[in-house]
Subunit: 329 residues, 2 copies
Amino acid sequence: MTLPQGPVAVVGLGLIGGSLARALVRAGIDVVGWDPDPRTMVAAEAAGVRAVESIEEACTAQPWLIVLAVPLVVVEQTARAVALAVSPGAVITDVGSVKGPVRDAMVAAGLATQFVGAHPMAGTEHSGFHASHPDLLVGVRWAVTLDDTTPLDGFCSVVELLVEVLAGTVHPLSDSAHDEAAALISHVPHVVATELLNIVAHSSIRDVAVGLAAGSFRDGTRVARTDPARTEAMIVENAGWVAPALLLAARDLERLAQDLESNAPTGWFFSRGDALRSGGADLGSQALRTMVLRADDRWQSDLASWGARGGRITGIGEASSLVVEDPQV
Amino acid sequence: MTLPQGPVAVVGLGLIGGSLARALVRAGIDVVGWDPDPRTMVAAEAAGVRAVESIEEACTAQPWLIVLAVPLVVVEQTARAVALAVSPGAVITDVGSVKGPVRDAMVAAGLATQFVGAHPMAGTEHSGFHASHPDLLVGVRWAVTLDDTTPLDGFCSVVELLVEVLAGTVHPLSDSAHDEAAALISHVPHVVATELLNIVAHSSIRDVAVGLAAGSFRDGTRVARTDPARTEAMIVENAGWVAPALLLAARDLERLAQDLESNAPTGWFFSRGDALRSGGADLGSQALRTMVLRADDRWQSDLASWGARGGRITGIGEASSLVVEDPQV
């Protein structure tokens, strides 16, 4: 396949949007970019991005793809601005760490049938265009989310950009599967790391604890040392999936504490994760095969179900054919 | 000062005992060693340790220091065996990760006035003499614990060995201050890392989560991927301090979950650890001074209180004088 004609428009040139724009420019792709911050625009232009003065101008540059790389709190208003100027053939994607609320914003703006959700599993503790780098999003895992309104051609074009231009791997998922997984592997870990820091900070032996702290504590609290307001925003955005996981964790920790206090057996707690320790659930290498997507009324749910079992897309061929690795059994 | 005459006896030549023995041999110190495993004895002898055939023989080799580097479950029986053969002038220390139970064993064996507790803040996920290394315990932080029965000369000799021979830093603490700090910076982090793995292992979207997992999850669960039985033993040994900290964490996580579910403010949770984020509680470099210990009836509690505020010993001079860094204020 070849990518559709026209530039890629990146709306929002922070850490992720800026890194994406830089990587695309380096790959020889025409990138139109906009950011509300004038200094960011100057820096982006120096990095080869074609600067435009508004979201409307980005849309009327006839991009085949518009990437919304803005904070989640402004996704809804950004989607409305895009809807006013976008051509019906353009594909819209995003890079948000929570997918359900982004789709809601797209539906509200009337953009659902042009939308393909995306979330790169990469980042740093920094933010802003000055922290962006053309390598940040190269070779990483992407969740690409779909529902029964997702356009087939748009999906394939986004996948092609991610796997061919950015050397990434694509995990096709429903929004809810993504958001639940993100709660477990990112949001809950951020919360418990924050709590590890909290209980030391409020302990009467804080100075001893900090003085003695070795590797396990530093590793366990690394992600909590970044901006707590940013962590809070991320957690609140995915509250629906994070809250039940936290309740589960709280119940387990309480039961363990009670068993420790009463000298009851505690093996139930320590051996429960053995399935992951053995590495059996980790994704090893797997034979590649070709999967051809057909524009029937089930391709989106079939693909998302396959992705939920661990399937991933590593390449793309002619006419909606994907190169895939099947789930491990 | 100079170290007392005679060899150092190391009882138990696993990861920590073996690494200590190797470091002392490298420093030119005569090391007598014993381990119940015959293959370990052969390997230790090849590494320059003077092998003896029993704990009794180790004690009668006239060591100035006997280091108990055995698992906590056999500390009590080992202490009894040492008590049968040790000379009254020898100093006894250990390397256990929990100090209260070790002191109890020493008191029960009648060895309290010869005992100086020690715990190196180092280790790896491996175990056994074959995993030991002469550098493992070089330049690390040690908690050295004392109570009002701790001998002054013995304390100073142990500190001298740790700071002069092993280039370590010594944090003098009460057993309870150590054990509470260890709960917060090591045992509770191990528990929550285990729980992060548990909830993913038992999730319906396990394969998605494992497939997408990036840095924060891998860092947060690193210490949970080692032998869970060893983690469990460590937690159970310090149950008295771990259980209340887990209850505190469980309560905080539950309250956060409830606030997330009801759209209540959550800033109370995310900003609570700011004192540690700013780095204000971290130990920077501090002017060194000399502290002379006097054999009055308060030196142990004074020193432990000073250590509890963050004081640490970095060197040793003549006649019970320590080179110290005072707590940061």
